[in-house]
């Protein structure tokens, strides 16, 4: 139903489900499809690589409805986002990938086609996936003035448990400046022409024809080729090593406070030599910064926020500019974002880190609703504030609900690595607030969903705070009452 998150999350699974998948894997690979054409486009980026694979499939059996998409081991481990659609449609298809067990060196995703196909029925399947941590800077060190170039390493052929008539792989760099690319040898069984051709920013491998079912270790060992593409990359490579997001809901103040603790890392080439401030000043003056330097970041925050704060270990950081947009009704399409341009205290050179805290308040009416018939409150919290092209290595989202919340239901947009419930104590709390912490791994710019949380808070729980404070006041009055009756005079 929703795109899957990454391989590690699936490894914690019940044994029964494992058994059921292996049976269904075997039954689904009963050669009921044939790929008439597979076209894969690999869009190279900084820390993220977008892969779009189009399968033109033809059913060989009647009533074939489950199609298997297989990935090699390395690719499956780097895939953080996986979505399948029918060509021309917007609705993603159901992918029954949970659980996913490796079978013969490949990892399989079962895609449920909406309608079963008759014999010789054809359909075009478009599979989009995002790979993380497949590129690295090369050369690994660069001085302040040098260019930035990255290497992408990956497997060449698209594996499939069905026969493929023809296959073509295109690797597209963001700019037409490719330094080198591998020309694989030993694929004469599938092609007679030039294996690799380059034109401007695209390298085309193929076409390869008549590939037998390739989802097996035997095929991988014999025919799968490894390619390395070395290209210039003109934007900084942003990586967030850790994101801790805390969302605190207040009913008395009708406010949702979101606070992010971000560890920012520049995953470009490490700095060779020392940082020369004068070089940096002259580059900034002429507006020609080297491509691997991060001078500032732009965050697109939700509309209707106020009281944003940005500080780090040293204290408040004032080098930021926030442009606010007015509030929009709950669940309306976000057309305008509040923009925050952050400038860290120092420009981030390759390999440098910067840790900071960014938070804001937004009216609760923008993200929460109350269903009077069931007494349920529903609130939506975005998983992350997406920075285009950045990868988040580890993320933890903690949602703190008001005191006395019961019947808590959590609905994340994609399955988390772990979910934890705990109690969080803050100002004017007596019993503490229930909080839900979800942890994720390898988030990309496509992971911009909302976490929905439902909960109930009875009126008595709302009054818990005033009751606690009134008891405190009452104690003061009691002390005063007793004190007035104590006679402290020295003489009668």
């Amino acid at each position: 139903m929703t795109p899957s998150l990454g391989l590690r999350g699936w490894l914690r699974l019940p044994v029964l489900a494992l058994a059921s998948l292996s049976w269904s894997f075997v039954s689904a690979t009963s050669h009921s499809f044939e790929n008439t054409a597979i076209v894969r486009t690999v869009d190279l980026g900084g820390s993220l690589v977008h892969v779009t694979t189009t399968y033109a499939i033809r059913a060989l059996d009647n009533g074939a409805q489950q199609y298997l998409v297989t990935l090699g081991e390395k690719e499956a481990h780097s895939t953080s986002w996986f979505e399948a659609k029918l060509k021309g449609q917007n609705e993603p298809l159901t992918i029954a990938t949970r659980p996913l067990i490796p079978h013969d060196g490949t990892y399989a995703y079962i895609v449920d086609l909406p309608k079963p196909l008759g014999v010789n029925g054809t359909v075009n399947l478009v599979v989009e996936s995002v790979l993380t941590h497949t590129t690295y800077p090369w050369p690994e060190k660069a001085s302040q003035k040098d260019e930035q170039s990255l290497k992408y390493e990956g497997d060449l052929l698209v594996l499939s448990p069905y026969r493929t008539a023809t296959q073509r792989i295109k690797v597209r760099a963001p700019a037409p400046r490719i330094i080198s690319y591998t020309t694989p040898k030993g694929l004469d069984a599938f092609t007679t022409d030039n294996v690799a051709t380059k034109s401007s920013a695209t390298i085309t491998y193929g076409p390869f024809s008549n590939i037998p079912p390739s989802a097996s270790t035997a095929f991988i060992e014999e025919h799968q080729k490894h390619i390395v593409v070395h290209y210039y990359f003109e934007h900084p490579v942003v990586e967030i090593t850790s994101l801790k997001r805390t969302a605190e809901i207040s009913h008395w103040g009708a406010n949702l406070n979101i606070q992010n603790d971000i560890d920012l890392h520049n995953a470009g080439p490490a700095l060779k030599g020392h940082f020369a401030r004068i070089e940096h000043q002259s580059q900034s003056y002429f507006n020609r910064l080297a491509p691997h330097i991060i001078p500032s970041l732009t965050f697109h925050l939700p509309p209707g926020i106020h009281s944003a704060y940005y500080y780090d270990l040293n204290g408040n950081v004032s080098t930021s500019r926030l442009r606010l947009t007015p509030s929009i009704p709950k669940a309306a399409q976000m057309k305008q974002y509040s923009t925050l341009e952050l400038r860290p205290r120092y420009p981030l050179l390759g390999g440098w880190n910067y840790t900071f805290t960014l938070g804001w308040d937004s009216p609760l009416a923008d993200s929460a609703g109350y269903d009077a018939s069931t007494g349920l409150y529903v609130v939506s919290v975005p998983v992350q504030t997406v920075i285009p092209g950045a990868v988040v290595n580890q993320a933890e989202v903690k949602i703190i609900l008001p005191e006395g919340a019961t019947d808590i239901g959590v609905f994340p947009p994609f399955s988390p690595l772990a979910q934890e419930r705990s109690t969080h104590i803050t100002y004017l709390d007596t019993i503490g607030r229930p909080s839900v912490a979800l942890s994720f791994e390898n988030l990309t710019d496509k992971h911009n969903g909302l976490i929905y949380v439902t909960y109930k808070v009875p009126l008595s729980a709302h009054l818990q705070k005033p009751k606690a404070v009134s008891i405190a006041f009452g104690v003061l009055f009691l002390v005063a009452f007793l004190a007035r009756r104590v006679d402290l005079s020295l003489s009668k």
């Binding site: 529903v378 006041f473 009452g474």
Partner: protein
């Protein structure tokens, strides 16, 4: 979830813009009542003192919660 888009937006018991004025009014009343409490005569059955104390405590508690929210702590 689709319930989220359908359910009416959240509205607090007290509108937010009133909170700071409410805080001021309630806390001023609490201060006044506390002062009055100190002027009450001592008696064996402290009914009046107890009533004043209870009223002042409740007013004060709502005042403190409103105060916290109006300065941005959002309890």
């Amino acid at each position: 979830q689709h319930l989220h888009s359908v359910a009416p937006a959240f509205s607090p018991y007290v509108p937010v813009s009133f909170l700071s004025y409410l805080a001021f009014v309630l806390l001023a009343a609490t201060f006044g009542l506390a002062f009055y409490f100190t002027t009450l005569p001592k008696s064996t059955i402290p009914t009046r003192e107890a009533v004043v104390a209870i009223v002042a405590s409740t007013l004060g508690s709502f005042g403190v919660v409103a105060l916290f929210c109006s300065v941005g702590v959002y309890v």
